[in-house]
Amino acid sequence: MKLLFNRKAGNGIILAAAIVWLASSPSGAYAATLSSIKAFDAGFALWKQYGCYECHGQQGRGSANDGPAIVPMNLPVEAFNVFVRTPANVMPPYSEQVLPKEDLERIYQYLKQIKPPRHREDVPELR
């Protein structure tokens, strides 16, 4: 399911595709998927709202001069939270006052659901 969560086709198309696919699925899976899509979108909105994308990119791939890639997100949530609250280097600290715990949790879930990076062997231009 993670592969579905890529923004390239836009929310509407993703949602439509998911609904079509889930039409034949058990109702529990349908509800769970819709919930995941909503969580993904909510997390993405917060990722942008709190400006994380400025340094780490909209899909968390990072940039050479600003913020490192943080996808795939391999940190446990506890370690992720500690880092965001008390970061190293020049990353601004995000206290709970400015970034509530619930929002941070949604951002973490967003990062966990981002499509895994492609391998260079899969990209003809980069071989």
Binding site: R61, A64, P92, Q97, L99, R120, D122
Partner: protein, 648 residues
């Protein structure tokens, strides 16, 4: 409050002062003081030689008004520019240089120098900036006195910081009696060069045509002598427009080429020995290389030493595909090095130290305590005080005031000649390790580029790689800075020639990108190459008019927007401040994000005659659009693709 007595005293003083001044006003002060009021004979004997200020003057002859000025001074100025081999002169029109403008297009037939039409003086100078870095020759630019020079000043500052030669010529009307009432007074200055004197290498305001000719030659020589820089010559409007009085006496001196300072053979041997004795030598190059032989010499030097090279990319110093290019690892290599050769490094302290942008600005030393730093730079030879572009002081172990490009060949030869057997073996061993590290980094860069390949908006890695895929088999050059696209072109493309990259603005003045790209494209067009400009959006909005110049002069320039819809650097600064103050960052986009509305760069370009497409958000649409744009460029026209991108 003043008392009545005070007021009476002031009235009495003013009354007497008024009477005295009325009596003296009709005559020059010295004559009035010498003539007693009651002695008419003395008054006649000492009559002033010059008419009274309030005397009636005859109307000027209509013959004079309609004089046929067949030999204006500006024709001579054009010959001065021709003698200096000025190929182009960039200008937005302005009345204080109308005489010179007319002479360029008529007397000089608009050929060498050819006028490059601009829509802003900052664009004129920016174009000259880009042109000089590609061609190695200065372009002239004409600016309109007070107002034009103020517009030009930002770009002159960039050129000063970037050590780039530019010949700025500013019109002015120095003789107040020649100014028409009104606007010409606003467009005249007593000392025009004062406005930019802190960041031009030299300036002068010649008082005669012969003076102009000698100052122009001197200006070009100064501009071209390392450390190079912009210069300013004021061309008085009266000198331009009045007839040449005695043409036979006018001479045009040659602009001498000053041999750049280099290093004695004894000192070169000493440097070579120190480098050869190093276990971990490191070469850092910033504005070091100006030519292909210079790059070849740097390659020879690095290979002979088995030393990694960090290219700080103010110029294209070292091929990106060479296994000794380890520019991504500057910090790690500085920490490890025991001898560092710094070649025209603008910020030596910043290269060897770290300063974090957190409260208190803590700093740390990266280098080993016993490191030997050999700094070879013309920066030691010429500097000015007010602008702080000289960066923080660092006491090099050996500081040499000399030109790196001029010295590299002899240094490489000395290293080859003086290396003994064990030193050669050590160099070979280092090269093997460095080859392996280079290959790993090469693969890692591609891995990172692949990671966001399908992301929307388009990743800067994909943007760069798709461009490379299209141009790699052409005669190409990148004419824009790469710092804002995470240096992806250097990590993914194969740069082998010095002209293929020209660094950035130098002074960080926004609005450099598009004009410099246009100027560089002009030089590349003459050399039969196409140019690519990866153009940041905020920067383009400062000088979009440069696109019109590209269209007007039919320049083969492919502009690909890196449109992250923000002044992204500034967004991060506001975030950083808000984070440090625990105020939350959600307002950091106010004043820093370019939205509501988004700018339609394709329409903007089309409005100025540039073929354009976009905005492109889906990365799959990029390659076909680039193909269409490149076809336009290969026909000799500019094209622009607006690509919405990830922040960096």
């Amino acid at each position: 409050m003043e008392s009545n007595k005070d007021l009476e005293m002031r009235r009495a003083f003013l009354k007497s002062a008024l009477a005295a001044s009325t009596a003296a006003a009709s005559l020059p002060f010295s004559v009035a003081a010498a003539i007693p009021d009651n002695d008419p004979s003395l008054a006649v004997k000492n009559a002033p030689k010059f008419p009274k200020a309030d005397a009636e003057r005859p109307l000027e002859s209509t013959d004079a008004i309609h004089a046929d000025v067949r030999n204006p001074g500006s024709d001579f100025m054009v010959e001065v520019m021709q003698a200096a081999k000025i190929k182009y002169v960039a200008a937005m029109p302005g009345s204080t240089f109308r005489g010179l403008h007319e002479s360029i297009v008529n007397y000089g037939q608009n050929k060498a120098p050819e006028l490059i039409s601009c829509m802003h003086e900052e664009a004129s100078v920016g174009i000259a900036h880009g042109y000089a870095k590609v061609s190695g020759q200065p372009m002239a630019c004409l600016v309109h006195s007070t107002v034009g020079l103020q517009h030009a000043s930002m770009a002159l500052f960039n050129a000063w910081c970037d050590r780039v030669p530019i010949l700025a010529i500013a019109g002015n009307i120095v003789d107040e009696t020649k100014r028409r009432p009104g606007i010409e007074w606003y467009h005249s200055a007593q000392d025009l060069g004062a406005m930019v004197r802190d960041f031009v290498k030299w300036d002068d305001a010649p008082a005669s045509l012969q003076h102009f000719s000698e100052s122009f030659a001197r200006a070009k020589s100064f501009a071209m002598t390392p450390p190079m820089g912009p210069v300013l010559v004021v061309a008085d409007a009266d000198l331009q427009e009045e007839p040449i009085r005695d043409a036979a006496k006018l001479l045009i001196p040659k602009a001498v080429e000053v041999a750049p300072p280099t290093v004695s053979a004894r000192r070169i041997d000493a440097i070579a020995d120190q480098l050869l004795a190093a276990r971990s030598p490191l070469i850092v190059a910033d504005r070091a290389v100006r030519s292909q032989p210079g790059m070849r010499a740097l390659i020879d030097l690095a290979e002979s030493l088995g030393a990694p090279v960090v290219d700080q990319l103010s110029r294209m110093n070292f091929p990106t595909s060479h296994y000794l290019n380890h520019s991504s690892f500057q910090r790690e290599l500085v920490r490890k090095a025991d001898v560092i050769l710094a070649l025209e490094v603008g910020d030596l302290w910043g290269t060897l130290n770290s300063k974090r942008d957190v409260p208190g600005k803590p700093e740390s030393q990266l280098y080993k305590p016993d490191v030997q730093v050999i700094s070879l730079s013309t920066e030691y030879l010429f500097m000015k005080s007010n602008m702080q572009d000289f960066e923080r002081y660092f006491p090099a172990s050996m500081a040499i005031g000399a030109d790196a490009e001029e010295t590299l060949s002899a240094l490489a030869e000395a290293v080859r000649r003086r290396a003994d057997g064990p030193q050669k073996a050590a160099a070979r061993a280092r090269k093997e390790q460095l080859k392996t590290a280079f290959d790993l980094e090469y693969a890692r860069s591609r891995e990172l580029a692949a990671a966001g390949w399908d992301d929307e908006p388009v990743s800067t890695a994909r943007l760069s790689m798709e461009i490379w895929d299209k141009i790699r088999h052409e005669k190409w050059a990148l004419v824009s800075d790469t710092i804002f696209v995470s240096r992806w072109p250097q990590r993914l493309w194969d740069f082998t020639e010095t002209y293929q990259y020209i660094g950035g603005a130098g002074g960080g003045g926004v609005g450099y990108g598009a004009p410099a790209a246009v100027g560089a494209a002009l030089a590349h067009k003459d050399a039969g190459r196409i140019s690519v400009n990866i153009q940041t959006d905020g920067d383009l909005m400062v000088m979009p008019c440069a696109l019109w110049t590209a269209a007007h002069h039919q320049l083969p320039l492919l502009t690909v927007m890196h449109n992250n819809r923000a002044w992204h650097q500034e967004t991060m600064h506001i975030q950083r401040m808000a984070g440090q103050r625990n105020r939350g960052v959600i307002n950091a986009g106010i004043g820093t994000v370019i939205k509501e509305p988004f700018v339609d760069y394709a329409s903007l370009a089309r409005s100025m005659g540039v073929w354009a497409e976009g905005p492109i958000y889906d990365p799959r649409l990029l390659a076909p659009a680039l193909g269409r744009a490149l076809a336009i460029v290969k026909m000799g026209q500019p094209a622009l693709i607006d690509v919405v991108t990830q922040p960096r």
